[in-house]
């Protein structure tokens, strides 16, 4: 990286307003060729808006965008892409049903005679390009038959192949395996060495320090800090993002779990809040047993695809099972029925809150009341007064930030959407909550609040099943951890055995055995 080089892309006092919100307020950022620039901030800080200004999705209301030394105004994402600014989005934005090769080459397929696409050359070229990213595969297969790691590499290869000068990555590692993350980082470093400017957006601090050169911290639509990342202490960075006093952050630790770990003997005599036995589903789950006692937080550890989310879905009946039974507070549950599960007091906070959780166009109030409607109505007629009361209680208790209960949920930040979902399940007075990645993709502040809430709920006697890829969250939050691998429980850790090391060892040990 050469600091003296002229910026390839520069935002000068960019402003962007949406109805009721100032998303960007005079943001300046200079992106140098051959640097990896971290863009961080809490949700609602303006990261997404800034990226969308860079990529032609939004037009700024004020300020200038300078690209290669001259002012530009991109009308559409296509304009930005043609100019050399590519984006790898959080949810990989490719076409799942089209083949890998066609995704990679869409819009610039090699032509043969009569301008017709030369498929043989297209497949050959796609194979050659992907090999450079460590992906060797049949490029004719539909993209959706591959894992997220491959899909991400295809998206990245696509961006680079269209002569990108600037590559913007929004949470690129959120669904990757550690091994795939390593591959991604080596590709990013290669891009940097080739003089491409990379904007790297992530909530994972470890990754930022591993791969980024400089950092820009956004807060409330303004730049809170810009500078080399290595010189910035980790806690200082968090403090900048939160806009809080450094001391306050330091005493809080990195997660907000505070309870002492409970020990197995405390549950003598009681019966489990939920007991799942022999959950089996072809190619997904192989006889998973899970029990959660009241007041206990049980963590599910394991790599992506180990069957953690599927276990949770199997318990609530959202995943059809080939075999297995679920007992809630001593009563057997009819499997395969989410209605029965909700009635029995089981709530699932799904991993993909956009697709499986919130109903975006409905209001905060309606989203909260949804699952509890049967208990808030008499003879099928819903009582408005009862709903208002429940909604008010939970909005206050979970500190949901919304203009009013009638604001559509889609207008809230990710953290607040997650809280609305939590409220929905708390409103049914559950015996057990299954939380699948409850803090993924939400900002640091909301994360801490959700973690504190999990503690609080367990203290009150709720059983919690916690799924998280964040090992630290798992270790500090759970009383007991079950490690899954390839759809089976391969280890159980409790008490002082619960550390990041033991979890990783457990995964690795069993992995070595089953490979041999």
């Amino acid at each position: 990286m050469s600091q003296s080089a002229a910026p390839v892309l520069e935002a000068r006092r960019i402003s962007k307003r949406f109805p009721g919100v100032v998303a960007l307020d005079g943001v300046s950022l200079a992106l140098l060729p051959g640097e990896v620039h971290a863009l961080v901030g809490e949700n609602g800080a303006g990261k997404s808006t800034l990226i969308k200004v860079f990529t032609g999705v939004h037009r700024p209301d004020g300020g200038d965008l300078i690209y290669n030394g001259s002012p530009v105004a991109f009308g559409t994402p296509l304009d930005a892409q043609r100019a050399g600014i590519s984006t790898i989005y959080q949810e990989v934005n490719l076409v799942p049903m089209m083949s890998v090769a066609r995704n990679l080459m869409l819009g610039r397929e090699p032509r043969g005679r009569l301008g017709v696409i030369d498929t043989a050359r297209m497949y050959g070229e796609a194979e050659r390009i992907l090999a450079g990213y460590g992906v060797v595969t049949d490029v004719r297969r539909p993209l959706r038959t591959f894992g997220m790691g491959v899909q991400q590499m295809v998206a990245l290869a696509r961006a680079v192949a269209i002569d990108a000068r600037v590559v913007i990555m929004d949470e690129p590692t959120s669904s990757l395996e550690p091994r795939e993350v390593e591959t991604l980082f080596s590709v990013i470093r290669r891009l940097r060495d080739d003089g491409i400017a990379v904007v790297y957006v992530s909530h994972r601090l470890d990754e930022l320090y591993e791969v980024c050169d400089r950092v820009t911290v956004l807060r409330d639509g303004r730049v809170a800090h810009t500078g080399p990342l290595a010189e910035l202490e980790r806690l200082k960075l968090i403090a900048l993002m939160l806009g809080r006093d450094l001391d306050e952050v330091r005493t809080g630790g990195l997660t907000r779990f505070s309870r002492d770990r409970r020990h197995a003997r405390e549950r003598d005599g009681a019966q489990p809040a939920v007991r799942a036995e022999g959950l089996t589903r072809r190619q997904v789950l192989r006889g998973v047993d899970v029990s959660v006692w009241p007041g206990e937080v049980v963590g599910l550890g394991g790599l992506l695809g180990a069957g953690r989310s599927e276990t949770a879905k199997g318990i609530v009946g959202a995943l059809p099972l080939d075999a297995g039974r679920v007992v809630v507070a001593g009563l057997p549950l009819r499997t395969g029925s989410t209605t029965a599960a909700i009635r029995a007091g089981v709530g699932l906070l799904p991993e993909d809150r956009k697709a499986e959780g919130i109903i975006p166009a409905l209001s905060v109030r309606e989203n909260i009341a949804l699952a509890a409607l049967p208990s808030l109505s008499r003879a099928g007629v819903v009582s408005d007064a009862k709903i208002d009361k429940v909604v008010e209680v939970f909005m206050r208790r979970l500190r949901i930030k919304a203009a009013s209960p009638h604001q559509p949920v889609q207008e809230l930040s990710g953290g607040n959407q997650q809280k609305v979902l939590l409220a929905r399940w708390l409103a049914i007075r559950p015996k057990i909550l299954l939380l699948d990645e409850p803090t993924r993709g939400i900002d640091v502040g909301a994360k801490a609040e959700v973690q504190a809430l999990v503690d609080e709920l367990a203290e009150e006697g709720l059983g919690v099943l916690l799924i998280s890829s964040d090992l630290e969250e798992l270790v500090e939050g759970a009383d007991r951890i079950l490690v899954l691998r390839e759809g089976a429980v391969v280890g159980e850790l409790s008490g002082d055995d619960v550390t990041e090391d033991t979890i990783m060892t457990s995964i690795a040990e069993r992995g070595a055995e089953s490979d041999g």
């Binding site: 994402p77 892409q81 490719l94 076409v95 799942p96 049903m97 819009g107 017709v116 539909p142 959706r144």
Partner: protein, 321 residues
């Protein structure tokens, strides 16, 4: 992804070529069961009567792959036919140009409304269905006037032919080949798949989403009009009572052919197989003799339901596999 690629491949082949396999099986069964089925005459009659549906279905395949639907094609088919018969009094050129221009214009307007305003294709083309049928009735005195084809060159287009097959069959075959190349081997075709497979994603990949949609509806309108034109030439008149519910038959054929109603996947081969399959089912039921054509609809309906269920299962196998 722990499944075997073999399973995944099998289900993909079934998805894409299932209709063709069932078609082949039915033809074999029909030939064995009925002496009068596997005759050149019967084959020609199935091909000729299927060709008009097939032309419309080619356009519909593009529309459905792009994630849309076109309900106006039945009305455009009859409107095109009436305009062609009316225009034939001014010669061959007018008989062709007038209906194609009118139907193309309707398709273009529908496409623009869908692409530029974001209105639902179902509603826009439902309006087209009602409005165009109204237009057709307006120019034919509430359907009372049946224009007769005055131009013999035009009539030959629908009635003449080669080797026992009429021109519409050859035109359909040519259009199918062109459509296949268009869909699989041109940027436009790739854009159609991309728009139907992931519209926001396609926009971010630089696909001209709006333009692609406009073209797709324009094409569907033109092809529905062309089918009407050829049919008018075949019948030597602009019959006004045709085409009611035709759009649903066409959609059924496309879906039976393996194109997903949700968009993003499908193809012309499957569509042609789907159209022929419905034609063969009808022909077989005619062979049985004492069954009415009402029964043909029952069988087609059952078959459609079967295909949709099979697609669900295959889709699941592919995702989990």
């Amino acid at each position: 992804m722990t499944g075997s690629p073999g399973r995944e491949q099998v289900s993909r082949v079934l998805q894409q070529h299932g209709a063709l396999m069932v078609l082949a099986a039915l033809v074999i069964v029909g030939s064995v069961a009925f002496d009068s089925f596997a005759t050149a005459g019967n084959a020609a009659s199935v091909l000729v009567s299927s060709s008009f549906t097939a032309i419309i279905a080619i356009g519909m395949t593009f529309v459905i792959i792009s994630g849309g639907i076109d309900l106006s094609v039945g009305s455009l088919f009859v409107f095109g036919g009436v305009l062609a018969a009316y225009g034939s009094q001014y010669g061959l050129f007018v008989a062709l140009a007038l209906p194609l221009a009118a139907c193309g214009l309707v398709g273009l307007l529908q496409g623009l409304l869908i692409a530029r305003t974001g209105m639902a294709p179902f509603i826009v083309t439902l309006a087209g269905l009602l409005g165009v049928r109204g237009l057709m009735l307006a120019i034919s005195d509430e359907g009372a006037t049946t224009y007769l084809v005055k131009d013999s060159a035009f009539a030959r287009l629908g009635q003449g032919g080669l080797f026992g097959l009429t021109w519409p069959v050859y035109i359909t075959a040519l259009l199918a080949v062109v459509a296949m190349v268009l869909l699989q081997r041109t940027a436009f075709g790739q854009n159609v798949y991309a728009v139907g497979g992931n519209e926001p994603g396609a926009a971010l990949m630089g696909v001209p989403v709006a333009r692609t949609k406009v073209y797709v509806y324009l094409m569907s309108g033109l092809l529905a009009g062309l089918a009407g034109v050829l049919n008018a030439a075949r019948l030597s008149s602009g019959v006004t009572i045709l085409g009611i519910g035709l759009e649903l038959d066409v959609i059924a054929a496309v879906v039976i052919g393996g194109t997903l109603l949700t968009g993003g996947a499908g193809g012309i081969t499957g569509t042609i197989a789907g159209v022929l399959l419905l034609g063969v089912i009808q022909s077989l039921i005619n062979q049985v003799g004492n069954l009415t054509s009402a029964f043909q609809q029952v069988v087609s309906g059952l078959f459609l339901a079967l295909v949709v269920v099979a697609q669900r299962l295959l889709g699941r196998a592919q995702r989990l596999g």
